[in-house]
């Protein structure tokens, strides 16, 4: 679904954000992208979302090399990707319904279909009773559920989430994670960037850890699999007593 080869990004020459990142993600896989602040998680997601171009390296997204996708085709690629941000990014002067509907409006779906699908989606995320509310009238958790509903309503192939629970309490975080898991169970590939180890430690899911722009850990690669490490160019740092984990 996603193949990343020797990806590098530098906004300034002497300060690279991503140095040499290589890994791939299978269809319907759920991957946690972890690492401290400034490790390059957001930049990697921005590249996957065609928001910024890499300095070097290649990314194959659903079989397309995003370096070769022309500007006009980017929106069509994005329609197959849902994105959730830490700060929700809702339209402040539109209702919950309108915020979720925007994804389908962009696709030119009929109004009746939009109304039906938005209603079903809002029920799924537990916000049907808040359909006419404006974002400022919602709690942080509710706002994030609206953002998730907006990202998932057209059943995207890929869901990218950048610290989606960064501003939320534990209970709300659990609700949001359940929505991601549900989407993943239906076949959506999920890449979730977070530095919150509580999210991924007990999940049993794949974890790729970035540090200073490099992939330093990938739970899919076995310690003794030198060939795989060489091919993927992942510099590996093994766990030591759980302290230095991803």
């Amino acid at each position: 679904m996603i193949q990343i080869f020797h990806l590098a990004k530098a906004y300034q020459k002497e300060k690279p954000v991503l140095v040499d990142v290589t890994f791939s993600v299978e269809k319907a896989e759920f991957v946690y992208l972890t690492g401290p602040s400034g490790a390059g998680k957001t930049t990697l997601l921005q590249i996957l979302f065609c928001e910024i171009a890499p300095t070097s390296g290649q990314v194959l997204l659903m079989g397309r090399n995003i370096g070769r996708v022309n500007t006009r085709s980017v929106p069509f690629l994005r329609r197959r990707i849902g994105v959730v941000f830490q700060d929700f990014r809702l339209l402040p002067n539109r209702t919950v319904t309108e915020n979720v509907a925007v994804t389908l409006e962009v696709l030119g779906r009929p109004r009746r279909e939009i109304a039906r699908r938005v209603y079903v989606m809002l029920k799924n995320v537990g916000l049907a009773h808040r359909a006419r509310a404006y974002p400022e009238q919602l709690s942080g958790g509710e706002q994030q559920r609206v953002a998730v509903a907006r990202a998932l309503i057209d059943e995207p192939d890929i869901l990218l989430a950048d610290e989606p629970t960064g501003n939320l309490d534990e209970d709300t975080t659990r609700d949001i994670m359940r929505l991601f898991s549900d989407a993943n169970a239906k076949g959506t590939t999920v890449i979730l960037a977070t530095h919150d180890r509580r999210l991924y430690e007990a999940s049993g899911r794949r974890v790729v850890r970035l540090e200073k722009g490099r992939a330093v850990f990938d739970s899919n690669i076995r310690l003794d699999d030198d060939e795989a490490r060489r091919q993927l160019n992942v510099s590996f740092r093994p766990r030591r007593g759980g302290e230095d984990g991803p």
């Binding site: 979302f49 006009r72 929106p75 069509f76 690629l77 994005r78 329609r79 994105v83 990014r89 809702l90 339209l91 402040p92 002067n93 925007v102 994804t103 409006e105 962009v106 696709l107 030119g108 009929p110 109004r111 907006r150």
Partner: protein, 299 residues
């Protein structure tokens, strides 16, 4: 397709509802700019009509030499009527000229009596085609005709004619400049409003891009909003212009009734009004596109 455009119209209407002051102010400013242009067009149209009326009455008068007999004069009439620019020629004998003088200047009739022999020359009055009524053409015709045997002089109200032709040209040239100024002003005003709108809705546009909106999907509502402002601005200006015209028409008609016959002022034709409305929509829409183009480059 229709569904999509209805959506764009709704978005444009929603945007206008969200910032009614800005939209109204823009329509007002566009109306003032268009009113200036409407005023110019009205003035130009009516002056043009007056000038045309006067120019249409211009005759090239060919005075005949004293020894030219009436037969020769008739020959000349036939010959001059063969000229492609001449529509008709009328021979005015010496006696007819005297009668006209008496009729036109009844108080001065004794002057002719005192002179004994009729001093007025016979002439041929040529009505010319509209294309010939240009100072250069008239001059070359004059020279050509004066070479004919039996012709003493060919005259037309040269100085006045040149002035009026000059005035007509000036009006047309001023129209070009005025039109250009209008185009720039409308584009600038509209672009400025849409630019403010774009920046105030920047976050929204980013989100639209996130969910896969194409640039045209984002452009259309702004384009429609700008075009609507232009349409309403131009429409309001026409209503105002018509109001002012209605107030000024009667006194203007009274002032003009004497020297030019019964030629009252007229308002812009429906075609011109439609053209102004479309120009308003088109130019303001263009202004929106300019603003959006600059916005994409800036963000």
């Amino acid at each position: 397709m229709i569904r999509r455009f209805l959506y764009f119209f709704r978005q444009a209407a929603n945007a206008a509802r969200r910032s009614p002051m800005l939209g109204t102010a823009t329509v007002g400013m566009l109306a003032v700019v268009f009113l200036l242009f409407d005023g110019y067009l009205l003035l130009a149209l009516n002056l043009d009509r007056l000038a045309e009326r006067w120019i249409g009455q211009v005759r090239l008068v060919v005075f005949l030499a004293p020894d030219t007999d009436p037969e020769r004069a008739q020959e000349l009439v036939l010959r001059l009527e063969e000229h492609p620019q001449v529509q008709s020629g009328v021979y005015v004998s010496k006696d007819e000229a005297r009668e006209r003088f008496r009729k036109d200047f009844p108080g001065d009739a004794e002057i002719l009596e005192g002179l004994g022999e009729n001093p007025l020359p016979a002439s041929i009055e040529l009505a010319l085609s509209r294309e010939a009524l240009e100072p250069e053409t008239l001059l070359s015709m004059k020279t050509e005709i004066e070479k004919l045997q039996g012709v003493e002089e060919a005259v037309f109200g040269r100085e006045l004619f040149t002035r009026i032709s000059g005035l007509v040209r000036f009006i047309h040239l001023a129209g070009l400049l005025f039109g250009l100024a209008l185009v720039l002003a409308v584009i600038f005003l509209s672009a400025n409003t849409i630019r403010l709108n774009l920046y105030s809705r920047r976050e929204e546009l980013e989100i639209l891009q996130v969910v896969g909106a194409t640039r045209w999907f984002i452009r259309w509502p702004f384009l429609i909003e700008g075009a609507m402002q232009g349409l309403f601005g131009a429409g309001a200006s026409l209503l105002l212009a018509y109001g002012l015209y209605a107030l000024a028409a009667a006194p203007a008609a009274a002032a003009l009734s004497g020297p030019f016959g019964n030629i009252g002022p007229v308002f812009l034709s429906p075609g011109v009004c439609l053209l102004l409305l479309f120009s308003g929509a088109g130019l303001a829409g263009l202004g929106s596109l300019v603003a959006i183009g600059r916005f994409w480059r800036a963000i």
